[in-house]
């Protein structure tokens, strides 16, 4: 009986998806908003990476929601894992020489690459989320290679709160000064295709990169903590 109900529900959902997808012709671009972004993003936002201009320009409010979801996930994980007791005076086993040397050599390079991704997010592919994830993978390497080293928790939570605060404050300032929507630009756009261009987009992406990087490395930190 249960299986029949499940099958009926699934087929109803499949029918709904099929009916809504049937309206769109396969392989043809019917989206007008996409064409609008491609044609006008250069004049309106000044970012040469159109994806960035959509993510933090036109759809900046949605990005705020994404960041909030990630923040809630980190808080939930912390709340669940905080109920376990920490293991006392456990000496972690040492990693091999190759891993330790490799992680010492690669860690600054990966950090640099992650920062490059989010600082140049408005010029080249990438942005705050990707750069933050790369930075978190650098910290993962540290946890694997150099056992016993931990992220400074105060510093990472300060960075995280600062990133969120900068995002929200910039959005509200844009709302009052720049235009009639959240995260509208209020800074000069600068010269197209240079580092100091696109108004507030680089600032927002730096804030998002710091926030996402500290949140994801916080998740790794919580998971790696020795618990009983």
């Amino acid at each position: 009986m249960k299986k029949i109900i499940v099958i009926v529900l699934l087929s109803i959902i499949a029918l709904g998806i099929f009916a809504s997808l049937q309206q769109i012709p396969f392989g043809k671009s019917k989206s007008k908003v996409g064409k609008y972004y491609l044609q006008n993003s250069k004049e309106e936002t000044g970012a040469s990476n159109v994806v960035t201009s959509v993510v933090v320009g036109y759809r900046g409010f949605d990005t705020l929601g994404e960041i909030t979801v990630l923040f809630l996930a980190t808080i939930g994980l912390g709340a669940v894992l905080a109920t376990f007791k920490k293991k006392e005076n456990g000496q972690p086993e040492k990693a091999s020489l190759i891993l330790t040397t490799g992680c010492r050599f690669l860690f600054p390079l990966i950090l640099l690459f992650g920062s490059y991704i989010f600082i140049f997010g408005h010029l080249s592919p990438g942005g705050g989320f990707q750069g933050g994830a790369v930075i978190a993978s650098a910290f993962l390497l540290i946890y694997l290679g150099c056992r016993g080293k931990r992220v400074n928790k105060v510093g990472s939570s300060v960075l995280e709160s600062l990133g969120g605060l900068v995002f929200i404050v910039l959005g509200l300032v844009g709302l009052t000064l720049g235009g009639h929507y959240y995260l509208s630009n209020f800074l000069p756009k600068g010269e197209y295709n240079t580092l100091f261009s696109a108004g507030i987009i680089p600032l927002i992406y730096i804030a998002i990169g710091l926030k996402v990087g500290s949140e994801l490395s916080g998740i790794i930190d919580l998971m790696m903590e020795e618990t009983r």
Binding site: P125, A136, S137, M223
Partner: protein, 79 residues
């Protein structure tokens, strides 16, 4: 181009099924990591480098690490 893409899709399919079938959970996680890596390559070939970057760093590195830590805490073999 079409040959490379179809080969990659085939490999992705095979590793997705392997991830389902492996009894050793570490092997299953590595197979799932393969799916993410090939998806990242496909995104890059389809001219979406932004998505490829996110897929490679989150799907292949961080999610694999989180799964492996969780397996280390629990059991390695599926019953």
């Amino acid at each position: 181009m079409i040959i490379i893409v179809s080969l990659l899709v085939l490999m992705m399919f095979v590793s997705a099924i392997a991830a389902l079938l492996f009894k050793d959970l570490i092997s299953a996680v590595i197979a799932a990591c393969m799916v993410s890596l090939i998806a990242a390559i496909l995104f890059y070939l389809l001219q979406a480098p932004d998505v490829a970057m996110a897929e490679a760093s989150i799907g292949a590195a961080l999610v694999t690490a989180v799964f492996i830590i969780a397996i280390k805490r629990t059991k390695r073999y599926e019953e």
